[in-house]
């Protein structure tokens, strides 16, 4: 029963939610809406679980003096500080001028933006190191990449401004993006969507059950 009951629940709810896509009647839509609300609540509780997990794992690592344990103290202190300050601030803790907002704007926001900004540097180094033109297809790919990269920014039109409008880099890159790129992307999306349906069907029917627990 330990494995069969979750599989049964998965199958019933899975088929019911598929049914709710086709049946607007209240006999189906009202329970389906209730399940959606339940999903929202479960996701919210997931954060509580996550916070508790983060504390448990890191306290354990600090206690056992695992490598990098001073940084784990920083992590735990930061986590607790944000939670406690937010709780003290009360309902409007994200409002203007609160201490929570100060920490968000002065600490979290710049750090998050900085990490994302690293991508610009990494793209350049990856382009130099790894983009190798060894075959005809790779050459076409590189050509398209160059046209799209330069055509998407104003300098592309500045460089090709003397040409007729439909021969400028921006027009060519727009054609590439609208036609071959779009077609290829649609094909990959359709394939991926079928993969999602296939995996979902396997999970709903219980064909794929390893995610429950490892024992067969």
């Amino acid at each position: 029963m330990k494995r069969e009951f979750p599989l049964l629940v998965t199958a019933l709810i899975g088929f019911f939610m598929i049914l709710s896509f086709f049946v607007p009647h209240q006999a189906v839509s009202v329970p389906a809406d209730f399940l959606q609300v339940c999903a929202v609540i479960v996701v919210a509780f997931g954060y509580v679980l996550g916070g508790a997990n983060a504390l448990r794992v890191n306290f354990d690592a600090i206690y056992k003096r695992q490598p990098g344990w001073p940084y784990k103290i920083v992590l735990v202190v930061s986590l607790l500080a944000m939670v406690i300050v937010g709780a003290i601030e009360g309902k409007g803790f994200q409002g203007e001028g609160t201490r929570f907002t100060w920490m968000y704007e002065r600490l979290y926001s710049p750090m998050s933006a900085t990490m994302f900004a690293l991508l610009a540097f990494f793209i350049a180094s990856a382009a130099f190191r790894a983009f190798r033109i060894r075959t005809l297809e790779a050459g076409l790919l590189a050509l398209a990449a160059l046209i799209v990269m330069i055509g998407r920014v104003p300098i592309g039109d500045w460089l090709t401004g003397a040409l007729p409008p439909n021969l400028r880099l921006s027009a060519i890159q727009e054609w590439i993006m609208d036609n071959p790129q779009n077609a290829a992307k649609r094909a990959i999306l359709i394939g991926a969507a079928l993969g999602v349906m296939s995996t979902g069907l396997r999970v709903i029917l219980g064909l794929e059950r390893s995610y429950l627990s490892g024992e067969d």
């Binding site: 929202v40 954060y47 409002g95 500045w158």
Partner: protein, 275 residues
């Protein structure tokens, strides 16, 4: 050590330094570059421009500080555009790191244009649940977000008096830098609730939405900072995105150079090996 060997084993920090300088210098000494407004951006602009003055619009700002360079300019310009038409804006955020920075944009533009919180705009803040929240909003916005970001009761604000669900809005503006965001709104909301929709997304994910533009599910699309700059031009403004176009142009040119240079080095290496 030969030039080829030097370039082949080049410490990537030199590349980082060059990228850094190419981005920094034009920010300090800007150069003018021509901008053309594409039809996707024009569609975004026209969708807002065609709104009756005083309409109430739903704007879902699903981004956080990591997406600031691309998302901030388009959010601010869209808010200015809406406020200039005396539209009222109801804002939601489906990213847990987003409410603070989105509120910052709202306050910035609202103060600039003399708009009042609760009457002209409201920030309903963050709600966990991703697509489930989007679907729940189709029943009732006020029930899905019982309190706003400031802790007030949503239904008590004057702006929310006539707002029930998606049918209360003539337009949905989705500014999103990933999941959940524009794609989920198109899949879960646009078709189901028949709401007109425009979107502003990151440059890397913009091509993913071209099929939705072609099918008419999206009326307009801003793609990254370039899209935001074109939108600023369409609005007759010159903001953060326009200023960012020159650094971005130089960075793109340098990446193109890196592709060619990397292959040039390999070609030289093969030539040396044959010689």
């Amino acid at each position: 050590m030969s030039l080829v060997r030097t370039l082949e084993t080049l410490d990537r920090r030199w590349i980082f330094l060059i990228v850094g300088l190419l981005v920094l210098i034009p920010l300090i000494w800007p150069l003018p570059l021509p901008l053309t407004v594409s039809r996707r951006v024009q569609g975004f602009h026209d969708a807002i421009e065609s709104l009756p003055d005083g309409s109430t619009v739903l704007m879902s700002c699903d981004w956080d500080p990591s997406g600031k360079p691309e998302m901030q300019p388009m959010t601010r310009t869209a808010l200015r555009h809406l406020f200039s038409k005396n539209c009222k804006v109801v804002v939601t955020v489906l990213w847990n790191g987003g409410p603070g920075i989105v509120d910052e944009q709202l306050r910035f533009v609202a103060d600039e244009m003399g708009k009042k919180y609760g009457e002209d705009y409201v920030n309903l803040g963050y709600k966990a649940g991703n697509e489930a929240v989007m679907v729940l909003m189709g029943q009732s916005i006020a029930s899905t977000f019982p309190r706003d970001i400031r802790g007030g009761v949503t239904a008590d604000y004057p702006i929310m008096k006539k707002v029930r669900n998606y049918s209360s809005f003539p337009l949905l503006v989705s500014i999103s830098s990933g999941y959940p965001g524009t794609k989920e709104y198109v899949q879960q909301v646009q078709g189901r609730f028949h709401i007109r929709m425009i979107a502003g997304v990151t440059a890397v994910s913009a091509p993913e939405y071209y099929p939705y533009l072609q099918s008419g599910q999206l009326l307009g699309l801003l793609g990254g900072m370039a899209g935001a700059a074109e939108y600023e031009k369409a609005r007759g403004e010159s903001g953060g995105a326009t200023r960012g176009m020159v650094p971005q142009s130089f960075a793109h040119l340098f990446v193109a150079f890196c592709i060619l240079a990397g292959n040039g080095v390999q070609w030289l290496k093969r030539r040396e090996a044959h010689a």
